[in-house]
Symmetry: C2
């Protein structure tokens, strides 16, 4: 079940470096693309940084709406993640083509990607020189939620392998998130 | 063995979202801190983005030198990673205290952290408003290298578990990088 994540815990959804899907909408148009280059930028209020190439439809929709959602896909969606990373939303409706469902967001117009394990609804900060020079968007997370089978009480629980998050390499290859370790602290 | 990584492949060292150690130096002073909030920003010339909090000694050294190294530590160094993340270089010499060796960098003055599996030598870009507002540093990668037992021919090879990269959660907890997957592409 999708459950709200308190905003000061939202950074935990991205802290371990998973690949993301960026969903966006403007008017009747919507799109979804893959982005590995996304990370937390601040704790509270939570902020994120994400690279959105200037040649993408997503960029056009984010420029127009100043909003997007970072969705964290699990292994079960890996094939769709590769697909939406390789195709352009200018050529086809990637949602329909890759069988991705949508869920309504709570604070932004862009839809959430169904079947993902975490969602960060974001409003873009006014840092246009950084966007224009580096394709880098800084944004505030205004709502966060997660699949409570996998993330609850502020902790990831990756018991089910098909629900593990992904770490993108290149050429259609991923690593899944591996076993947890808690080394002793050296005081 | 440490081997050069061609600059257009340098992004692969960070693409899967591993935790990093940031090493820095200015004059006779040097430091090392942990940073999960680091990611590629561009392919070629390769660039990175990393958050360096304004209250850290690392920030002082990077502000002065405009250089740093992103080191990718393996599981074998996990305890030291937690340690350097919890202590301040203003209180103790973290290199000595956590038993971290150094290797000379090729293009910057900051040392590399010995025992890491990849190294990105970086020169900070002139984006001071972004640094000052968001503690976010954008930098060009001027040299890259990796332990060729783990990364060679442009590919990670995580056969030895102790040499796997780490994905930081919080509270001294990590995930290691898990198994590789290559889903079929949907055309």
């Amino acid at each position: 079940m999708r459950a709200d994540v308190p905003l000061p815990k939202a950074y935990l959804l991205l802290n371990h470096g998973p690949v993301t899907l960026v969903s966006s909408a403007s008017g009747a148009r919507r799109n979804v693309m893959a982005a590995s280059w996304a990370m937390p930028l601040d704790f509270n209020p939570p902020k994120v940084a994400v690279v959105i190439d200037r040649n993408t439809l997503t960029r056009e929709l984010v420029d127009a709406s100043r909003e997007f959602v970072l969705n964290v896909p699990p292994l079960a969606l890996a094939e769709a993640v590769v697909g939406v990373g390789n195709e352009s939303g200018r050529e086809l409706d990637k949602w329909a083509h890759f069988g991705l469902g949508t869920l309504p967001a709570t604070r932004v117009a862009a839809p959430l990607v169904a079947g993902c394990i975490a969602w960060l609804e974001c409003r873009v900060l006014d840092e246009r020189p950084t966007e224009q020079r580096h394709d880098l968007f800084l944004a505030e997370v205004v709502a966060a939620s997660a699949d409570d089978r996998v993330f609850r009480d502020g902790r990831w629980r990756f018991d089910d392998e098909t629900l593990r998050s992904l770490h993108y390499v290149a050429g259609g290859q991923f690593f899944t998130t591996g076993p947890a370790h808690a080394p002793k602290r050296d005081g």
